[in-house]
Symmetry: C2
Subunit: 388 residues, 2 copies
């Protein structure tokens, strides 16, 4: 028999999981338990702190080895990675790109940087990410596919790509999504910014897209201070990624020639040194975070109307940020729960504002977003650092 829903009951359950005697528990803090100092010091001692140093290559190899995706190109952050990833997949100005309405603004901004237009898609309640079935029905209705690609019959613009984002670490249902992308001739680019350490059908997230991206921002499961990576199995695309992120400079002993518009996006060596040490600990971080999720689930199982979101049967999630999902009857209590927990030093956070509710994205095309709008009202992120 469950306890009746109350904010105090929820806070009490969280306190049972979280360490006692701490004034403030942040949402996500990094853990530097490994070779962080050694590698960063070695990097400083070598004098090579910038992009020329060899930790960048080591970090990229560690990413490739762990994910099973052949090539990694380390860059300054996940936003930069997605900006380039979209270019590599052939997205150009005036194209539409399908992205979830429920995502961090960087996904939409990266689409905008190149002059493309975000086209917002609904989420699945089972994964918190893009809903392949609903997307299929929607495209059936609005899209026309011909030799030139997929076109939005309403706007007349080409729909070039779909960018699933693995929300809070939980893998999107990729198998049917790959099928939808094939059917409508859409490039698939995975935004795996939050899902390093998450697998779907035994393969790492990011393995399905022609290009995928990772993020190593300070709040991610593995951090380089700020950082990201472009991931791909295509050697040629990886070469292009390296070229575009180093100002498109052609190799020469001394001459400066640049054959297209390039970017200053490569990751500095000192950040990669930190990343190498962090990657060594990733399996342990994943193990701890999965254990934390199980403890949250157990503690909250006793309370009516609040549950911890768990991975689907095909997924093995990194549980980057744990999700407390309020029952629909209690979604009006979300802000009260946020206010109470934050005032008591337990940092919690709602999901992001739906993209089409931001003034800059108000006029972008979208499908019906019922599930995303519903989830947005009910999600509360819980403290999820690996050391908890």
């Amino acid at each position: 028999m469950k306890k009746e829903f109350s904010l105090n009951a929820i806070i009490g359950a969280l306190r049972g999981v979280l360490p006692p005697n701490r004034d403030f528990i942040p949402l996500h803090e990094p853990c530097f338990y490994g070779n962080e100092w050694n590698y960063v010091k070695e990097c400083l001692d070598s004098g090579w702190v910038s992009s020329a140093g060899n930790y960048v290559g080591r970090f990229e190899q560690l990413l490739a080895d762990y994910t099973g995706i052949k090539h990694a190109v380390a860059v300054v952050n996940g936003t930069a990675a997605l900006h380039i990833g979209l270019q590599l997949a052939g997205v150009t100005a005036g194209d539409e790109v399908l992205i979830p309405a429920l995502t961090f603004v960087a996904t939409a901004n990266a689409v905008s940087y190149g002059g493309a237009i975000p086209h917002f898609a609904d989420s699945a309640e089972s994964t918190l990410g893009l809903d392949p079935g609903k997307l299929d029905s929607y495209l059936q209705e609005v899209a026309r596919v011909n030799l030139q690609g997929c076109f939005n019959q309403k706007s007349g613009r080409r729909i070039k790509a779909a960018v699933p984002m693995h929300t809070f670490g939980h893998p999107v249902d990729m198998e049917p999504l790959v099928e939808v992308c094939r059917k409508y001739r859409l490039e698939l680019i995975e935004d795996a910014a939050e899902s390093l350490g998450s697998f779907y059908q035994g393969c790492h997230t990011g393995s399905w897209g022609r290009v995928s991206i990772l993020s190593f921002n300070g709040n991610k499961i593995v951090t380089t201070g700020g950082g990201g990576a472009i991931m791909t199995n295509d050697k040629c695309l990886a070469g292009q990624a390296r070229h575009l992120t180093t100002q498109a400079k052609l190799p020469h002993r001394w001459s400066f020639n640049h054959d297209r518009l390039g970017y200053n996006y490569r990751m500095p060596n000192i950040n990669a040194a930190l990343g190498c040490a962090q990657m060594e600990q990733l399996p342990e971080f994943v193990r701890k975070k999965r254990a934390l999720a199980a403890r949250y689930r157990e503690a909250l199982a006793a309370i009516e109307g609040a549950e911890v979101f768990m991975e689907s049967s095909q997924a093995r999630s990194n549980y980057w940020l744990n999700v407390l999902l309020l029952n629909k009857n209690y979604s009006d209590q979300r802000d009260n729960l946020l206010a109470l927990s934050n005032s008591q030093g337990i940092m919690t956070r709602p999901a992001w504002t739906l993209m089409p509710e931001l003034p800059i994205y108000r006029n972008c095309p979208r499908m019906d977003l019922k599930t995303a709008a519903d989830l947005e009202k009910r999600i509360v992120n819980l403290p999820s650092s690996a050391y908890l």
Copy 2:
């Protein structure tokens, strides 16, 4: 009586200045002689390696104190700083921006990112940077100024801004350039990527522009691995810079609202920690680099047809990269000198390819570029690390 011009005489003179018994002398290496390790370790110990940490604020204050420019906003690199700086100065898509033809490609690329068009200007032999007198004559001829601003009569586009770049650390002749900008209603944005530590009429480079930028790439006088800063005396613009570089997120305890298209451009704390230690040593770096320039000058003074470029009377240069300037009669020897010195382990480099010679900038508007073209053929950069 000078020695006759010969490549071997030049190499010999360089060897007299450079440390003996070194197989390879790079163009520019950082020096980590100060608190680098202490600060980076403190940063790792605190757990705050990302943009939330307090070294970012300290680094910004050190930059403001040293340059005398009131506000500094630390970002991921100089290219990102210029991209945002142009936006802050009101440059929009379709505007033309006057930049030197003789510059690193990042200056032109930053203009392009926002959809503006580089308009190339000639250099002065006395500073290696924009020639204010020639620019004035040119604008007299091609520009029309009205209440809406300055317009290129040929293209019909607005010329919104001028971006002088302080080449290899040598300040542009700013006093007449400020006058030209006033006369033609151009915003002035200084690209001081290479000139941290360089002063003009006693004020730090970057003090004249409404917005200016710095770079802390691995080859710069002060490095943060990769980094840059937006500098301005305008508090409101500094606030906008902070906002635009953090995804334009509006402050709130937990809600995600973004009021315009923003960027993920802030400098991570670990890079700022490195920068704080480097800034403490900047006066010493400048002193050493000025002494190195004097030694180069003396050594090469004995050889006919080759001289070391020295600061103008109004400038006090950081001599970021020393410039060996070949006499016009010997410009055909530049590539031979590059080949010989590099093959002997003394790293040298030519100036950048003129921007309008790159395919991407071939069709951009330009004035006559005689001096820039001439300088480009005669410049050879010499090893310039502070420890030399």
